[in-house]
Every structure is written in C-alpha cells, then in structure tokens.
C-alpha cells in the first residue's frame, strides 16, 4: 500500500506533521522538537524509498483522486525529481537535527512550535513543487513555500528580520503574480495545465498565437527568476538570508531558492521544446544575467563584513552558476546545473550552519572577529573550511564535480567564454572564502570566545554534511549515472523527464 501511494504520502507527511505540532505542541514544547525531527526523518526515509523505486522502475506517476490528467492532478517522479527530492529532504533533515539544541537558544521560546510547523509546511511544499506535474498545483505549492519562507525569516520578530521578510514577501508575491499570469496565459492558449499535455499542445498554440506564447514564456521566466534571485532581481535575497535565524538561512539559501530552479527546469525542458527555445533570445539573456550574477554576487560577497551577508551574496553567485548550466542548453551543462543544485544545497547549508555556530560562540558576526575560532571549535571551522574549499571547486569535493560538468557543458555548447567565467569566478570565490578559513585556523583571537560544548545533534549533522561533500565528490559517478539517462533523453528527444 505504501509503495503505491508513496508520493502523496511523502508530501502529506510534513504537512500533517505541521498541523499536529500546532495542535499538540502549543502545550508541550519539546513535542514540537522531537516530533518535527521525527517527521522530517520519516520523510527523508520515504524519499529514499522513492529514489529506490525510481532507480528500479524509471518513472512513477500518481493521479490524485484517481482522475487522470488533463482533468486530475498528477504527481510524477523520475530520476532528476528523485535526486532533487533526496537533496531537499536530506538537507532539511540534517538542518533540523542541527537545530535541535541550537534553535531554542536562538529564537524566542514562544514561537518554537510555530517555527517547527512552518518548517514542516515549507518542506512539504518543496516536495510538492518537485513532485507536481501540473502547473496550478506547482503554483499553489510555490505560494505556500514563499509564505512559509517569509515567515521563517520573520519568526523571531526582530526588526531587521521583519523588514527583510516583508521585502522578501513583496518581491516573491511579485514573482508569483507574474508566474500565475504566465500560467493563465498558457492555459488560455492551450487549455491544459498538465505539463505533458501542455507540451503536446504548445507547438500548435505557438502557430496560432505566437505573441501570447512568447509573453507567457517571458512572464514565467521572469517570475521564477525573481523568486530564484537571478542577478538583477536578487535584491531581496541578501537581507532575507542574512537576517534570518541560522537554520532558516540554511534552508532558505540551500533549498528554497533551488526549488524555483526545479520549476524552471520543468518549464524549459519539459514544456517548451528545445528547438523552440533555441530560436528565442532567452539563452543569451539567461547566460548574460547568470554571468553578471556570478561576478557581482562574488564581488559583493568580497565587500561584506558580516559573514551571513557574505554567504547570502555567495548564494546569488552560485545561483548564477545554476542558471548558467540551464542556459547553456547542453547535456553536460544540464547535469552540472542539477548537480550544482545538490552540491550547493549541501555546501551552503553546511556553511550557514557552521557560521551560525561560530557566531553563537564568538558573539560577533563580522568576519574579522571569527579569527582563531578553529582552534577552540574545530568541527564547525572544519565544516566551514570544507564547504569553502568545495565552493572554490577544490577536488575531490562535491563542488568541483558540478563545476566540472558546467565547464564541460560550456565547451560542449561551444561557449568557451563561459569556461573562463567559471574559472575566474572560482578565483573570486577563493577571495572571499579563504580569509575566513585562514583566519579561523592561523590567526589570533580578536574577541573573547566562550568555551561551550557543541550539542551532539549539531556535531552529527555537520559531520554528515562534511561526509556528504566528500562522498559526492569522490563517488559522483553514482548520482551522475543515475541522472544521465534522463538528461540524455531530454536532449535526444523531447519529452524526456524531470
């Protein structure tokens, strides 16, 4: 029974968990922590099971209520989906494990229950977006995720976070309004919302209403770009990610931004045919924006003094990489983009978590004040260093592999320039990450450091993330061979997967 219904159950579990926490947890605070962790853990296990099933049978489809598309809502899992699911569920589980003992010290005790509920709602909506094969369903989950994410920023109720949160909310509503308009346009010209049917009906619709289809594509892309913080539309990101509590920053920067990229992947590679896209100026503009985003994000990160702001700007740059991979329209670049979604999720959440710990123990947020912490707190500093080196693209870490595929993709697409962009930006990454690593291990302390014991959950989750960074760098052939057939399918014939 579980096997057949695993997909809806996976989405439902966190949502149900959230409401149970709200129901019970307002009285018993530790219930929220334990139950939240348990729910995410089970979700992670279920996602693992989905991945196992997908690796056995290729694709899975599920019709809600037994209604087949185009009328009903369809859930769909294929290797890329499963990989993204695994990323999202896994990282959010370890972030929550990290937060188990850290969070109560960081936010107001009253809102812990609410925090966990929001977190689970966010997780459920992320999984929902990835699994949905229907545009309207995607839209609903998108909205849920953006409200939950904005609430996760503001949950603590301090001024800066609330201001960042409302900025985030306004921008992301702007984005989702545009997306909804685009979806409505698609529905108008084709009469379908299901991705497969849309893909089938689009060529004809383009023949009859070319302008509408173009506008629709533009609106969808721009709307998603706002939410995913593509370069000129990224203005909300540094504030929102920089002022949220540690675990919120980790999941926002690591996962939430990525889920919109998953939507864009679905849109570009499943709905619109490749030759259709190739005829548009979309590729050029995506690439230019991605490149600018990479450079400007990096330079802005170099200019930051606040470590969390720096990490947030680094996310802008890394999103640029993913858009680069998407915009190159080549097999290897696509692999690289998907792999970077994963590796960046792991690395960035690790960086945010370890930075959060370091901030907690030094009491300061500026980079200069983190000096010498590596000697007192080796595990967070090592985690930070591993994440930083992986960001720079040092083999054999996971970040290297995604850059490797992006670079090969650039060559495959005959765009030598972007290989150079990739290399140069890695150097810039080095410029803002290495000083922290160096300072952390080899410089003298500038502030008085509290000697405290790092909670076990935090240690475990950091160690697991470190191990994952190494594992998916050293044995990248496992996920890559899992993903390759699907990606090849996309590029050899239209209608492959995602």
């Amino acid at each position: 029974m579980i096997t057949a219904h695993i997909m809806p159950l996976t989405i439902l579990l966190p949502l149900v968990g959230a409401y149970l926490i709200l129901l019970v947890g307002s009285k018993h605070r530790s219930f929220a922590r334990n139950f939240g962790l348990l729910t995410t853990g089970i979700t992670f296990a279920m996602v693992c099971y989905i991945t196992y099933l997908v690796s056995n049978q290729g694709k899975m489809a599920y019709y809600l209520g037994g209604w087949a598309p185009p009328l009903g809502i369809e859930l769909r899992a294929d290797p890329i989906t499963a990989f993204l699911l695994l990323t999202f569920a896994g990282v959010s589980f370890f972030v929550l494990l990290f937060a188990y003992d850290i969070l109560p010290g960081e936010i107001n005790g009253k809102v812990i229950t609410r925090y966990y509920a929001l977190y689970l709602v966010l997780l459920g909506s992320l999984l929902g977006i990835v699994l949905s094969n229907d545009f309207f369903n995607i839209y609903v989950f998108l909205e849920i995720s953006s409200i939950a994410a904005a609430a996760l920023v503001a949950v603590n109720g301090d001024k800066l976070a609330m201001e960042a949160s409302i900025k985030y909310l306004v921008m992301s509503t702007l984005g989702s309004g545009t997306v909804l308009m685009g979806i409505a346009g698609l529905y108008m010209v084709t009469g379908y919302l299901s991705l497969d049917f849309l893909a089938g009906a689009l060529p004809q619709a383009y023949a009859s209403h070319p302008l509408t289809v173009l506008m629709t594509l533009g609106m969808l892309t721009v709307g998603i770009a706002v939410k995913a913080a593509l370069f000129p539309l990224h203005v909300w990101l540094p504030d929102a990610h920089g002022s949220a509590p540690t675990s919120s920053s980790a999941i926002l920067s690591g996962l939430v931004v990525k889920v919109y990229i998953a939507v864009l992947l679905k849109l570009l590679y499943r709905v619109f045919p490749l030759d259709f896209l190739a005829a548009l100026p979309l590729q050029g503009s995506l690439l230019v924006m991605a490149t600018l985003g990479i450079f400007i994000g990096s330079i802005m990160a170099i200019r930051q003094r606040d470590i969390k702001k720096m990490l947030a700007y680094s996310t802008v740059a890394q999103i640029g990489y993913v858009f680069l991979g998407i915009g190159l329209f080549s097999e290897k670049a696509m692999l690289g983009a998907v792999y970077h979604v994963f590796s960046h999720a792991v690395m960035k959440s690790m960086l945010f978590l370890s930075a959060g710990l370091l901030i907690k123990y030094s009491g300061k947020r500026t980079i200069a004040d983190l000096s010498g912490l590596g000697r007192v707190y080796p595990i967070p500093m090592i985690a930070f260093s591993v994440g930083a080196l992986s960001m720079v693209g040092v083999p054999p870490l996971a970040g290297f592999m995604s850059k490797w595929y992006l670079g090969l993709g650039a060559l495959e697409a005959n765009q030598l320039l972007f290989l150079l962009v990739l290399l140069l930006s890695s150097l810039l990454n080095g410029f803002y990450y290495m000083p922290i690593v160096i300072g952390g291990f080899f410089k003298k302390e500038t502030v008085e450091i509290r000697q405290e014991k790092i909670p076990l959950g935090a240690q475990i989750s950091l160690l697991v993330l470190i191990a994952a960074t190494f594992f998916f760098g050293l044995f990248s052939n496992i996920p890559i061979s899992f993903l390759t057939p699907t990606v090849q399918g996309i590029f050899s014939a239209f209608g492959g997967g995602i």
């Binding site: 309207f136 839209y139 609903v140 909205e143 849920i144 953006s146 409200i147 904005a150 609430a151 503001a154 109720g157 001024k159 800066l160 609330m162 201001e163 949160s165 409302i166 909310l169 306004v170 509503t173 702007l174 309004g177 909804l180 308009m181 409505a184 529905y187 108008m188 919302l193």
Partner: protein, 117 residues
C-alpha cells in the same frame, strides 16, 4: 470586444504592479498586490467564460447544456485563498513594523535603520 477585455485586465495588472513597485507606503504596496492579483483572477475567470453557458453544476435538469468552464473558477478560488493569506501575513508584518518604527513608509524605515546601524 474580447480583446478589449483582456487589454483592460492587462492594464489593471500593470496598475497593481506599478503601485506595488513605486509606492513606498507598505499598505499601498499590499493594496497594489491585491489589485495585481485581482487582475489575474479576472483574467482566469474571463478565460473560462462561455457565452450563454450555465453554471457547471450537474443536475438531472441540464445534462447536456453548454456550461462555463469550471476549472478556471476553481483556480481562482485557490488563488484567492493564497492571496488572502499573503495579504494577511503582509499586513501582520506591517503592523509589527509600525509598532517598531512608528511609520509605514519603507524609505523612512530604511533611513531609520541605516541611522541606527
């Protein structure tokens, strides 16, 4: 005539968009947000409308008549729920911000913040 309708919707959409971007008062921003979303809902409803169609309710009396496409209405309903919750959340945040800063003007808030830092 149909196109005129869509043009109007687009104008409303842009109006909302413009208000949302240009106004520095948070409440006005939220109003703009709602205007923009209303435009989208209008668009969806207009799309599903069938001339002289009846309500899409299955009774024995009207088995085969032309009826209005129910799917866009369902979408609108969902969209309204979403927009209500976004609005409520934004209003809640605005109230909180007002409590902290004594103003609802974003520029003003930013100025105060930069002064404090």
């Amino acid at each position: 005539m149909d196109n005129l309708f869509y043009a109007m919707i687009f104008i409303i959409f842009l109006t909302g968009f413009w208000i949302m971007l240009r106004q520095s008062n948070l409440i006005k921003k939220i109003i703009g947000m709602n205007i923009m979303e209303s435009a989208i809902f209008l668009f969806l409803v207009a799309m599903g409308y069938v001339k002289e169609g009846s309500a899409p309710i299955a009774t024995e009396a009207n088995p085969g008549l032309a009826y209005v496409n129910p799917l866009p209405s369902a979408l609108v309903l969902t969209g309204i729920v979403v927009s209500v919750s976004v609005t409520a959340f934004a209003l809640g945040l605005t109230v909180r911000l007002y409590k902290h800063y004594g103003t609802m003007d974003v520029d003003e808030i930013t100025r105060m913040r930069s002064e404090e830092l």
